[in-house]
């Protein structure tokens, strides 16, 4: 009788989910690729970098941990000045700050810390693995129970990252050249909690369609290896695996550049 009553009320209100069902079911996919603007084209498959080196990628993988759909809670309201962030944070731009340990932390998380508010809550977390950026990735995510969305509002989509692996050839665009053409392999490891994020506006309620199709586009920018000091690294020629992840100048530069990666969310209901 109660179920019948709920069903009737739902019908009258136009709600989409029946009793015992999730309020919405998510189908998600991730697409990833490398942006190659014409101004970067140096010929022969090489791309110009801002420090006049040129790289030709033979492999480029973004090591991802998970895709998260987040209800921002009280963190939706910015509670600090990005030009003067709280202690422990610096270099705030594009919706995130660099924590002292190198992690990229979203404004919403910091705002919730500052106010002591409810903070963001994860509505859905979908595990991810390596994304082949060079070949271009278009992957439907298998999310099982994580596809069931509770009531709430997705205000943000996060891509949690482990790091980045790049392989290829590097040469110098200057005359005289600072280095000969060489193979390189670069592994940048990101601290736990590093993420890229973008805003979203997906309400999950009784009154809206229960099917949410979400696509996250990850566009690795041409600036990815800008400023990497190829000439300051150990003696040449290098074997492919000889560039350790511990070279701080490389790690720092790649982390900063990676933080500029553009995320775009599109939603179909």
């Amino acid at each position: 009788m109660r179920a019948l009553l709920v069903s009737c009320l739902c019908l009258a209100a136009g709600c989409a989910a029946g009793p015992g069902e999730p309020f919405a079911v998510l189908s998600a996919r991730v697409r990833a690729g490398l942006d190659r603007p014409a101004g970067r084209d140096a010929g022969d498959g090489f791309q110009r970098l801002s420090n006049d080196y040129q790289v030709n990628f033979t492999a480029l993988r973004l090591e991802a941990r998970a895709l998260e759909l987040v209800d921002l809670g009280s963190g939706a309201t910015l509670a600090f000045d990005p030009a003067n962030p709280p202690e422990g944070y610096g270099l705030c731009h594009n919706g995130h700050c660099h924590r002292d340990d190198g992690a990229l932390v979203d404004y919403a998380v910091i705002s919730a810390e500052v106010t002591g508010g409810s903070g963001p809550s994860v509505l859905s977390r979908l595990p991810l693995t390596s994304l082949n950026v060079l070949a271009g990735e278009d992957r439907a995510l298998d999310c099982g129970e994580s596809c069931e969305l509770p009531l709430g509002k997705v205000g943000q989509v996060r891509l949690e990252l482990r790091g980045l692996t790049a392989e290829g050839l590097v040469r110098d665009g200057r005359v005289p050249a600072r280095i000969p053409e060489l193979p390189f392999r670069l592994e940048a490891t990101l601290p736990e909690g590093s993420e890229l994020s973008t805003s979203a506006d997906v309400e999950v309620s009784r009154h809206l369609s229960p099917r949410v199709g979400l696509t996250l586009d990850v566009g690795l920018g041409p600036r990815l290896l800008d400023g990497v000091p190829f000439d300051e690294l150990p003696a040449y020629p290098l074997p492919l695996d000889a560039w350790p992840a511990s070279i701080p100048a490389v790690q720092d530069r790649v982390r900063l550049n990676l933080a500029e990666t553009a995320l775009t969310v599109s939603v179909e209901r």
Binding site: P37, A38, G39, R40, R48, L49, S50, N51, D52, A83, G173, R174, V175, P222, R223, D226, G227
Partner: protein, 159 residues
């Protein structure tokens, strides 16, 4: 009442017609020259020395000039991540030369010693840059320091 409304509208129309909107890069440059954030660097004295970088966007670089032949001067480096139109704003009108990574001089497309958006800009120079590192050399000048803001104004010409 009607007449005063009409007069007001006419006045607004006249005011609007006579003023072209300032380029966005001018407004940005004024903001950074006035409010920073500022980074202090010391110019490299010789062409062989490593020049300090002035490449981060949305910053004002306060460049301390050093002794060179004929007065004060020196070089800084700008790593351009975008191909297209750039505008170099300076707080003092000092001699400037820009060279690419191979040493070729980059010609300025236009120069001005003032802009309408603020009084802090004493030199505005427009130039086309590709992706790469450029050396900006100041002087010789009697001036001991100069503040610099570089703005990217898009792929096409902004003027």
């Amino acid at each position: 009442m009607k007449r005063s409304s009409l007069l007001l509208s006419f006045s607004l129309l006249l005011a609007g017609c006579g003023q072209a909107a300032a380029p966005e890069s001018d407004v940005e440059a004024c903001e950074h020259l006035q409010e920073g954030p500022a980074v202090a660097v010391t110019a490299a004295a010789t062409a062989d020395a490593v020049a300090p970088s002035v490449s981060e966007p949305h910053k004002r670089y306060d460049v301390a000039l050093v002794s060179v032949s004929g007065g004060k001067g020196g070089s800084v480096s700008f790593a351009s991540s975008d191909q297209g139109h750039h505008v170099l704003y300076l707080s003092t009108d000092v001699p400037v030369e820009v060279r690419d990574g191979s040493g070729a001089v980059v010609a300025f497309e236009s120069t001005a010693t003032s802009i309408s958006s603020c009084g802090e800009v004493k030199s505005k120079r427009e130039l086309e840059l590709g992706v790469g590192t450029y050396r900006i050399t100041f002087g010789p000048t009697p001036t001991a320091s100069v503040s610099l803001v570089m703005e990217y104004a898009g792929e096409g010409h902004a003027h």
